[in-house]
Structures are given as C-alpha cells and as structure tokens.
Amino acid sequence: MNRKSGIVVSWWALALFLVIVALLAPVFMSGYALRFCTFVLMWIGLAGSLNLLTGYTGYLDFGHVAFFGTGSYVTGVLMLKVGLPFFPAMFTGAVVAALIAYLVGIPTMRLKGAYFAIAMLAFAEAMKHVVLELDGITGGGNGLSLPIYTNYTFFYYTMLAAVAFTIAITYWFGRSKFGYALKAIREDELAADVSGVNTFSCKLIAFAISAFVAGMIGGIYAYWMTFLTPDDSFNVLLTVRMIIMAFLGGAGTVLGPIIGATFLASIEEILWASFAYTYLIIVGIIVVIVVLYIPRGIVGLISEKLIKRYGKGRKSA
C-alpha cells in the first residue's frame, strides 16, 4: 500500500515537472528547437483527438485528417476573406468540423466499425476535392496564403493550450459516466445498449468532440504555416500517423497519445528527410508488431509490468 501510494506521488511529481518544462521551454529555446517542440505538441493533440474517438469507442477513423483540414481551411478563409481575428476563426473552424462529423456519423456509425472506417476514407478524399473545386474561396490547387505572423512563441503556447484542453477531455472521458458508457460500447456494443446506454448518440457526441479537437489544431496549424494546400491539409499520411501514434502509445489512455506522438515524431524527425519510404515501412512494421504482440500499446505494457511487481490496488488494500 505504501509503495503504491509512493508510485502515485512520484507520477504526479513527474507530471508536474513535465508541465513546468513545457511552460518554460520557449525561454530556453528558439528557432529549430521551438519549431520541433511545437510540432510534437501538434502531434500529441492530433493523436489525442483520434484517441478520443477510436480509443474510447473502438471506431477506427481512416479519414480523421478531414477534420484537421476542415479546421485549417475554415480558419484560413475566415481570416483572409472575412477578416476575422485568429481566435474566433479557429473556434469557428473547430465547430464546423464538429458539425460535419455529427452529420457524417449519422449513417456511418449505425453500422459495424469497418463500414465507418472506410466510409471515412472516402469522406476525407471527398472533402479534399470539395476544397479543390471551391477554388473561388479556397484558392483550389494553388493554395491559400494567410496573413503572416511570425511570433513562434505564440504558436508554441497556443498549441500547448490546445494539447492541455485535449488531455483534460481525455481525462474526463476516463472518469465520467459518459466515458464509462463509451468504454462499454467498445467492449460490447450490444450489452451496452441493453444496459440502457444510448450507444448511438454517445458515439456521435464522442465523434463530434474528437473532430472539434482536430479542427482546432488544424486552425492553429493554418495560422502557423501561413500557407495551405488541399494536398497538405487533407494528406492521408496525417491520418496514418495519428492512428499509429495513438495505438503505439496505448489507445484509450491519457498518456498513450503523448508517449506515442513524442516517440514517433522524434523518429520521424531523424528519418523522414532522408529516408521517407523506409520510415513508412518501419511505421508499418510497428503497426503489425503492436497488433500482434502489444495490442494495448506502450502504456498497457508498462502498467502490466507495474501491476505484476506491485499488485493491483484492490488486492493490496
């Protein structure tokens, strides 16, 4: 019992330490390092967004990039064509992403998860072409240039706030009645339904929340990058990375996407520039290994080890 509470205290100490480091990072860093850290934060947020849906309901989304892209383009268009300031534009982008998710979820979430997964792949492709076709507003294939703002500390802190928001929701998913309902759906949808959970509306709400987060991060990305193209904003490889980061770290946990995203974004930074294809082969091998040998991800693996060593809380109490 004492040992276990000791572990809990040290976990909190570690978390507090990381938060302080994250808050102070821009004081010590600039240029490349700050940019890299902002990217890692972006990936933590995106993997966290996918985790909110896939990790908690078991519905795999092969088109999650659609919400990132929607958020980025709505933000871009509102700032450029309507002259809205950044924050209201970003917020609108996130709301639009959430609304679209809700509408798309209505037919696709009634069926087996496999239907949802591939229907979303088709949806992301369709959204990319919508942006390409609406070239009067979006600039089509030529891209969209936003007002340039080069305060990189601002983007770091905005991304950090978005990540904190994502983590808070994930934490809430883990503790609330709503979160338990979602986990019940993941484990056995029929049983959840029979137990009085309105499975359909729970799934839709989780989907909309998850899309809101992706849209919000897309908005920050848009202002940060200042130049958007449909190929970048709706790139299927973004979805690929979100999925792998969430599952490698441990889907359905708070820490999973943080660990997975940090790990993979770091590997990518080393390998991507010179060995893009090799990097993606490694990513594919990681997926296969995770599915076959560590289906609960790094977090699941570590917590199993801890439970083995110190016993479950319930047993020792």
Binding site: Y59, A126, H129, T278, V287, V288
Partner: protein
Amino acid sequence: MLLQVLLNGILIGGIYASFAVGFSLIFGVLRIVNIVHGEFIMLGAFITYWLYSIFGIDPFLSLPVSFILLFAGGYLLQRFVINRIIEAPEIMSLLLTFGLSLIIVNIALIVWKGDYRLVNPEYAGANLELGTLIIPYIRLATCVFALLAVGGLQFFLQHTNTGRAIKATSQSKDGARLQGVNPARIYAITFALGAAITAIAGSLLSMSFSVFPAMGGDYLLFSFFIVVVGGMGDLPGALVGGFILGILQSLVTNFIGAGLNYIVIFLVLYIMLITRPAGIFGRGLIE
C-alpha cells in the same frame, strides 16, 4: 455520345466487378475488411508490367502468373499473419491489414519509384467500330476476361468440394467444423482466392490505366463502394455494383467534371448507407 459514355462505363465496370468480388469474398467468409486489397491490385499490375517490359510477354499471358503468385502470397499471409487475430475485435484486423498495406506500398516505392508506367502492347490502339460507337478491342477483351474470372470463381464455389466448404464456413463456422471442415485452411484458401482474382483484375487494369506503387488506395475505395452498393459478401451484387460504379464514373467524368468523382462517390455511399445499408438487393451482411 451518351451511348458511348455508358459503354465505356460498362467496359471498365467489368474489371471493377472482378476486384470487388475478391474483396466481398474475403469479407463474406473471414468477416474482415481487408485494407491490403488495393495492394493486391497494384502487385498484379506490376507483375504484368514487368513481364511485358522485361521479357516482352503479352499482357494477357501474364494473367496466370499474377493468379498463382498472389494465390501463394495470399495463402501465406492469411495462414501465418492475419489468422492470428481472426478472433480478435475487428479493429485489430483493420489495423493489421493497414500496417501490411503501408509496408507493401513503401517497399514498392523503393523498388519501382513513384513513376507512372503503362503497359502498351501493339494492338492497344485497335478499335472495333459499330456505327458511331468505338470499342477499343483491349477494353472489350479485358472486360471479358474479368467476367470470365468472376464466372470461374462462382463455378468453383458452387461445384467443387473446397468451394462448398468455403460457402459452408461463411454460413456457419462451427457448423462447417462439425462436418470436418478445417476453418483455418478454408480461411487461407479463401484469402488466397480473393487475392488471386484481385491480382488478375490488377493485371487487366494495367492495360488501360497507369501503374504506380500508390495506385491501390483508390481501388480500395472503389471496392468498398461497390460492395456497399451490391451488398457486403454478396458476389452477384458485387458484379452489379461494379457496373454501377463504372457507369457512374463515366457519366460524372464526361458530363460534370472528373474532379467531382470522389464527391459523387461519397454522396452515393452516404445515401446508400442511410437508405439501403445491405445493398440494393438487401442481401448484404450488416451485423
């Protein structure tokens, strides 16, 4: 003009049907949505391209090679990799086949680079002219071969012991096991057959469309669209779905604009999933 557009759609629809049948067969028996499906098409297309460009072998003669190689590859893949998670939640098979797809596409990108290639035999330009209608011989022949492959598969399923064991397993795995059928073996054969017929479709596609490592993604989407329209696991439905997609694409490309193809595909998919999730004939699996 309209007649010509419809005809073009039908000719390509036959090939679409043949790879969708592979997708539907695997789903109907193994109950997994196979994300590697598009890569089977790509591999079939590259086998034909290689045999043609290096050894000068006629593309139609490469069909048996595609069939045999992908049959063997599919068998091994199912037996030693996918079969390990066949009882796991469906998200695991989606993730696993997705990981395999990443590996295959990117190995192909290293080996073949991202260039677009064409299989272009001498007779590629020859046409049959019926009044104002123009029918390229090669399109006609590829469509006929695709339909023969679908017919052959259907015959195999209905008139051989292994085929009947496959059908029995899809209806009831435990029931089939009680009759002495080994599900693991049937799963591997089914997956192999699905991969092989899909590879033939890929070989046929290579004679009319460009061949490149990432070509599979679009065809995976098309396969999914077709089996949703035709009904998941319903092979005759996949045939009809293939023709519907071929005609739809031909109409959209000619009369509205090629850029709208994906938008129309998604809208039709969306409407189908709301109104007829079990396919137009209502015979698909939707549990």
